[in-house]
Amino acid sequence: MKRILFLLAISLTAAKAQEIIRPALSSETAFAIVVDDKTYQEARSEISAYQKSVESDGLGTYIIVHNWKTPEEIKTILHQLYQDKKQPLEGAVFVGNIPIPMIREAQVLTSAFKMSEKLKWENSSVPSDRFYDDFDLQFDYLKQDDHADRQLYHYYKLRHDSPHYIEMDIYTGRIKPAVSGDKDNSVDQIKAYLTKLVQVRQERNPLNQMIVSTAHGYNSQSTISWGNELLAFRSSFPGLFEQGNSIKFLNYRNADFLKYNLLTELNRPELDFAFMTGHGTATLQLLNGYPDVSSPQSSMVNVGRYIRSKMVAAKERDRDLEKVKADFQKSLGLNDKWFDDAFSPERAIEDSVFNQNMDIHAEDLTHVNARVVYLNSCLTGSFHKKDYLAAYYPFSSGKNVVAFANTIGVLQDLWGTNLLGILQYGSRVGHLLKKTAFLETHIFGDPTYHFEAGKAGELNQLLAGKHAKKKDWYNTLKTPQADLQSYALTELFRLEDEKILSQKLVEIFKTSPFESVRTQAYFLLRKYDNPLYKQVLDLALNDNYEYIKRKALYDINDMGESKYTDRIAERYLSDQELSRSIYRINWMFQFFDYDKMLGSLERYLGDNPNVYNASSLLEGARKKVNYEKTKAAALKALLASDKTPEKELLSEIRSLRLYRHHSVVPEVLKIAQNTNAGKELRLTAIEALSWFGQSYQKPLIIDTLRLLGNGTDDQEIKNQSLKTIRSVSDATWRQF
């Protein structure tokens, strides 16, 4: 078929217009490969082959080439194509040097990121393609980074009148290799990736081999959280548990070095999907800590390693080594044994190898065969940097073609398994991203990739389709597949009347055997934030799925209403095995009406003859609550006092973004209203309140800030007030 080539003039730039190669295939929806000029020139045939491959899979594909100067250029085209009536865009991939939107003043759209934006912009902004794939979000352009290495960075801030939640219109992916040395071989890497991609896409490979790995230090290392995740996988991937297929669960507790097993699995030619949870940095996946042991010899080996690391550090800092040694010997009760070889080269190598083996490094990822990997960890997807770990997966010589990863830090308690199951039914990976992404969540590789499944074509049309009706989703809800049901609920949420769907969701929450479906019902009711949600919240605290319980505690924490103190005490008494919930409850002791909390604890634990350690549990909680009570009173006084230095006020107010002291909201509002206070202080106060969207203080926040916004001529105060109102109003539309 003859390709139509045309030039589209964009008013934003007077430079050469974009080259757009239209799809050869007329399909219900379309996909776009967005590439920079230079890369395109060098990888034209590979890109063309990729286009053909996607089209042969039933998805018409554009190639859009340009010497891109700003993100807006791209967004404008994508938006236009998305609005195309005949063949609307469903997704895009960014190949090569594509401008990177660095988003500011939008931390509520991330799962956990709260870095002070006073810090360097390249660190405190969030690299995010949500700029490109959620057309409703509104941004103000701030600037392009002026550093030579950061020319692609374009800083934006989320506008006060933008929605403050993410609802992606299309999905996106990035094909951007990591460059570790001086030599930039990106284009070669891209060519190799695309060549491999086209081959892998031809495999028609079903998802029937999977691994799930869990590294150390996550979610309070709770084995029960882990076990519940296994059960959720059991519901969402039932076929993998049958003979002939496989799903393996790797855990850092399996071995001193999980790495060997994990890499062996990732390299396994038949492995389809690897879901990996653990801490991460831009260049590392952290897997193990020092081994957890209890026997004397092994314990001392850990102590020895610790001592050597301290001695080496002391030497590097030129400290008095004899004194350091004497101090350690005294404080830890050690003789010379663990110090003798602290500086021996053999020992240094041994320790270095040991440390190296605790993590996955870029050089370990030369041949990853798992077709799709999900890095549920911080920072590994920091694609704004030249070198970032996630890139090593798709750009390895193995068959990996897709890596999900995060550009910044992420929340440990997020619902990482949300909708994962749709992949086994042949959903394009992009559809998964589209429904689940935070500001930081990204796909590296081809977002149109999907596993083979009998009805993959139909499914992808349904998922992408603009024409799907309520009836289609109600039908999907009747299928026995957990995550297809879960997906259908998210679509019904868009199409169905709240009254009808809320009732349905409650029923589903009460009866569905599937963890993922119940969790989805919970989150959707939470979006409605209506009385039925409150009803389900109560049930959620006693749900059998640990994650739902944990999330309900989270939400109650963010509400802060003292009517929940009995329920919190009840969970504290009953769920001592759930380390992560107990961690959360201890956290919650900071924020609830202290006297009521003490009363509830007393009611549940005082003289309870059926609780073996009632008195010590009660005593521990009481001590904690009393301590917090004193601390909170001091905080309230400090915020109310006009003598508190501004610096201290700023610091305390900023900490409220994480520490939800609902009771001090009135004091913070007073500061916000105080025209005699410094501007920065007032803005900080108004911004901090944007994190109290579920709080029982929400009406007070909205009313006060509305008055403030309307009554001021100060544009910054006005905008921040409106922004906070928006953020607070949209709170339950964000999962966290």
């Binding site: 296994l230 548990f241 790797l250 070095f257 097993n261 800590g289 004397p296 314990s299 003859p609 609780v611």
Partner: protein, 727 residues
């Protein structure tokens, strides 16, 4: 003479009313299943009204009741009456109340899950207290003697002509207070019967389940623990979504989980509490020392250890200074660690610390165990031959516990304790579950006829007890409860043609979506041994359910032919996240041809370049270097094995199937100039090779020996016994 009279002869008439009830029962309910209450005369006399009320409760629950009260002198009398009731009165189970003789079984260790104590040791410890004597009528026993000191213990030998597998005809439960004072015993039983009757009267469907996995079990393998999760998920599916709760917990949730688990046990709403861990007759191990990697808690562990070492040294009369010096050298610590080892307050603190790690008899004695059903999946907790045993305190606690399952001797870690436990969901009597899953050591303490509330449970229990229609059980294969399917498979294997049963079992083994059903199908196939049994084992070694992989390793090890080397090595490389499986694989490979093992590992090593090479090198080294065991058998073959090592070389075969050396052991027996006791021991050791690929050779040997007069009676008896077990 009609049957009634014959039966009534055995019945202790407590009151006219009682006998009238029995008579009425027999005539009106002749088709109903029956249940026997076996009790000693003393207790019966003291508990007249409670027994009558218990009887009514049982009857209301669809059981005809026979009261067998007597001054029981020997177990045989009880067995005989139970068997008659079974044969003539549709007896389905019995409860043994009070002072009922305890059969102590010998020469039957292969009927236990793992117990292998040398029978030369103290008989109270080296015999297996077992009510299989009372509930499996096909087993044949020879009476040996009554214990001289503990006169309720009766020793029996499993006859060499007896079936060598357990297939219970009825189920039993024990109600034996762990006390010696008769008055106290009466009061404990009285209180139990009262609460049991009360519990039986209330409507209580299973909706609250709680499980605990203690430290040190199954290599502390998380993947093994996950099979508990998946198993319960199958068995109690609907409790996971609002209808109830299934709680999982384990030793690694907190440093000390005893308070948590004690609290669980006393939950008033708890129906089933499953505890898995190590145990002894008087306590359960809950936690180990806290695991840590940072210096402070690591050193606390070390400090407690060295203090204890120092105290032990003193107790043993050693010079504590020597111990101290040695510990300082080996651990690299200074003397601050030892300063307070003998400080009385520190000693008390250390002892209190230790108490946090276990649940003792004292703990349970004063604690309300409210979980209606408790399973102590641990060694020795149910050692009811002893006066005091911890399981005994559960049903007699002041809480609402009515049934506790426990083991009278040590048990295998890798056994599947929860086999068919999901049947409690539809009101199956606990005894019926025992009947389908018990080893020689598995026992119910409390009322075995107890069941949770479920619609139609009376009829259902009747079906389990007596329905032998293959057609009926085939229909149950579509039942929504996986464990009903599992039970149906078991019944089909008993009632269908072998061919059809195997067809169905293979279908379920390969295609069932439920892990517990696949596992049950596998275990039944193991008994039926279809022609492609070896391939089925290999398929199981690739199943996603870790437990199946684990048992497949056992089965490959038991057979020992070299066709299994590759699958075992595959497991080693592909299943590293299943620590227990790889642990078992390592132990297993020692028993195969070492040369072939090494070659296979080296080949796989090349295919797994990213695998932990040090680990593989260590493994290969282990097989290349060989162990002293291989040396022993080489010496046995060459007749150079020193006499002092002979006993060990033979007895080790009971635990380690060194299949490759079976011909050498046979050669040794045939040409032995050694003492007869070694020949008998060697023949006994070969009785553990019932699945071995060398089995035919052993059978041939036994047949020969049994028929040759020149061998002594002892040798011929053992040859016959080994033959019987292996055939």
């Amino acid at each position: 003479m009609d049957f009634i009279t014959k039966v009534n002869k055995y019945i202790y008439r407590i009151a006219a009313l009682w006998s009238a009830v029995i008579f009425f029962n027999v005539s009106a309910w002749a088709q109903r299943s029956s249940f026997a209450v076996v009790i000693d005369r003393f207790h019966a006399g003291q508990l007249t009204s409670e027994l009558a009320a218990y009887q009514q409760s049982l009857e209301k629950d669809g059981l005809r009741v026979f009261l067998l009260a007597d001054d029981w002198k020997q177990p045989e009398a009880i067995r005989k009456q139970l068997q008659e009731l079974y044969e003539q009165q549709k007896l389905e189970g019995a409860i043994l109340i009070g002072n009922i003789p305890v059969p102590m079984i010998r020469d039957a260790q292969h009927l236990t899950s793992t117990f292998k104590m040398p029978q030369t040791m103290d008989w109270v410890e080296s015999s297996v207290p077992s009510d299989r004597f009372y509930d499996d009528f096909k087993l044949k026993f020879n009476f040996i003697k009554q214990d001289e000191k503990r006169n309720n213990l009766f020793y029996y030998q499993l006859d060499n002509r007896s079936p060598q597998v357990i297939k219970m005809d009825i189920y039993t439960g024990r109600l034996k207070p762990p006390v010696s004072d008769p008055a106290e015993s009466v009061e404990m039983i009285r209180a139990y019967l009262k609460k049991n009757i009360a519990q039986r009267a209330v409507s209580n469907p299973v909706d609250q389940v709680s499980t605990y996995t203690a430290e040190g079990y199954n290599s502390n393998a998380l993947t093994s623990w996950s099979t508990v999760l998946f198993g319960f998920r199958n068995q109690f599916r609907d409790l996971f979504n609002g209808a109830g709760n299934v709680k999982f917990s384990s030793y690694n949730n907190q440093d000390f989980m005893k308070p948590y688990w004690m609290t669980q046990l006393s939950r008033k709403d708890l129906d089933y509490a499953y505890f898995n861990g190590h145990g002894l007759p008087d306590y359960q191990i809950v936690s180990g020392n806290p695991e840590a990697s940072s210096p402070a808690p690591s050193l606390e562990n070390v400090a407690r250890y060295v203090r204890q070492q120092l105290r032990n040294a003193q107790k043993k009369g050693k010079n504590p200074e020597d111990t101290k010096a040695s510990l300082m050298t080996s651990l690299g610590i200074n003397d601050t660690f030892f300063a307070n080892a003998f400080d009385p307050q520190v000693i008390i603190a250390d002892s209190l610390y230790e108490e946090q790690k276990t649940i003792s008899i004292a703990d349970i004695k004063s604690w309300p165990v409210n979980a209606r059903l408790v399973y102590l999946d641990a060694c020795f907790n149910g050692s009811f031959q002893l006066e005091e045993y911890i399981a005994g305190y559960y049903p007699f606690s002041k809480g609402t516990n009515v049934v506790t399952i426990a083991n009278s001797v040590g048990v295998l870690q890798d056994l599947w304790a929860n086999e068919m436990m999901g049947l409690i969901r539809n009101g199956t009597r606990i005894g019926q579950i025992l009947k389908h899953s018990a080893y020689l050591e598995t026992h119910i303490f409390g009322d075995p006829s107890f069941h949770f509330t479920a619609p139609g449970s009376i009829g259902w229990n009747q079906q389990i007890a007596h329905n032998r229609s293959a057609r009926y059980w085939k229909k149950q294969l579509n039942h929504e409860l996986p464990d009903v399917q599992a039970l149906a498979l078991r019944k089909i294997a008993e009632t269908e043609t072998r061919e059809e049963a195997i067809r169905l079992l293979k279908d379920f083994f390969h295609h069932s979506k439920d892990e517990v059903v696949r596992t049950e199908a596998y275990l039944i196939l193991k008994r039926l041994r279809p022609a492609d049994w070896h391939q089925i084992i290999i398929d199981a070694s690739k199943d996603n359910h870790e437990y199946l992989r684990r048992v497949s390793v056992y089965d490959m090890t038991e057979i020992g032919s070299s066709e299994f080397i590759q699958p075992l090595v595959n497991l080693y490389f592909n299943d590293m996240s299943s620590n227990r499986t790889t642990f078992n694989v390592e132990r297993s490979l020692v028993l195969f041809d070492q040369k072939e093992v090494v070659q296979t590992i080296e080949k796989e090593q090349q295919r797994h370049p990213l695998y932990d090479q040090q680990l593989v090198a260590r493994l290969i080294g282990k097989f290349k270097n060989g162990s002293f065991l291989h040396e022993y058998y080489d010496q046995l073959r060459n007749k150079t094995l020193p006499d002092k090592n002979l006993g060990f070389a033979i007895s080790i075969l009971r635990a380690y199937r060194m299949h490759q050396y079976v011909p050498d052991v046979i050669g040794f027996i045939r040409t032995s100039q050694a003492e007869e006791k070694h020949v008998v021991a060697a023949l006994e050791a070969l009785s553990w090779f019932k699945d071995s690929f060398q089995k035919d050779q052993i059978i041939q040997l036994c047949e020969e020996l049994a028929g040759q007069k020149e061998w002594s009676d002892d040798v011929r008896y053992q040859a016959q016994r080994t033959f019987q077990i292996l055939k």
